[in-house]
Symmetry: C2
Subunit: 193 residues, 2 copies
Amino acid sequence: MAYHHGRLRESLIDAAVTAIEQEGLARLSLRDLARRVGVSHAAPAHHFGDREGLLTAIAADGFERLASVLEEAGDDFLEVGVAYVRFATSERGRFEVMFRPDLHRRDDPGLTAAMDRAGDVLRSGAAAEPGDDRTNGLAAWSLVHGLATLWNAGAISIDEGTEVEVVARAVAGVLFGRTAGATGGASPADPVR
Amino acid sequence: MAYHHGRLRESLIDAAVTAIEQEGLARLSLRDLARRVGVSHAAPAHHFGDREGLLTAIAADGFERLASVLEEAGDDFLEVGVAYVRFATSERGRFEVMFRPDLHRRDDPGLTAAMDRAGDVLRSGAAAEPGDDRTNGLAAWSLVHGLATLWNAGAISIDEGTEVEVVARAVAGVLFGRTAGATGGASPADPVR
DNA sequence: CGCTGATCTTGTCAATGGCAAGATCAGCCC
DNA sequence: GGGCTGATCTTGCCATTGACAAGATCAGCG
């Protein structure tokens, strides 16, 4: 391998996300990441400083990605919520780091900027809802965030093979079906056993 | 100090919970716990085997406590939800460990029993709600769990000094106010800024 | 060619988790 | 009383880890 890796920073973030999804965030080791990528054990320090720096970078990158995903979901509040859950479960490694402030350098400008951007997108989505007091927005955010978290933790017992998206749509419908009138009724088939 | 500590197991759990709330789960160290309690660095191993064993014990204990708290909250679905949030935020150290299965020994009988008990209490609370399909129950659980998680992560920006309980009541009312007819309207004062 | 800064490596140290072996103690039976 | 037994805790040790320091390699540029 060449002396210069070339894309070490991105490779390390990718490797970290993969490692978290495989082994769990608890077992994440900088030296293991370096081995996975094929560099020396001290190489990560150059790009991230220390462990906290790496996790801060992962979180910042994650919030940027989340913001983009939510923007692409459009204006429909329910679709934004479904996209939120889809992101949290398909990018579990990133998501788990994002909401663990004890792992971050809170004053990192890249992180705060990314969080602000994601927060703005989330709030603009909430503004599209009728009767848009902040309480409704927080309720919606809590609902999808809680569902995603519980799903990732394996705390929800559901028929094997059920897709998150179906569950998310049904659960979100309980909240939005009454306030936004999107689907206009109870859940169609009750996917939660 | 006496050779035998006497209540080492409970003391270690208490110390761990305190340490997590002070320093964060990431910085939890068995040796630091031993120092806090005043025993040698190998003493915890006797009671918990390893780090995973300690965290499993904390989680099991946490689910037992959660079940008790929810039982005491009565039959009102909204009150159970508020109690859930109150527990999660006042016992943050325990709560953070409880929903991190990557830190547990999932086959531990004490843990599975405690989880089952808490799950039963949660489901019995959901059964009290009219139109009690499982989707509504999952929505309610997701809502309070998400609110608690976001609150603990410091992700919710709210006026300084606002109490979680007030927010929880308002947010939960968005869901229950329409389905269970408990409060019967929008939040009274909109505590979320 | 030689300078400069960025990138990566090697070497080292303190702290940690885990294991092994032994010391201390409480309870119990004779 | 005396000794056995198991539970509890300690000391000693090792591999791994995160962090730091110093040096090696490389690309770009004058």
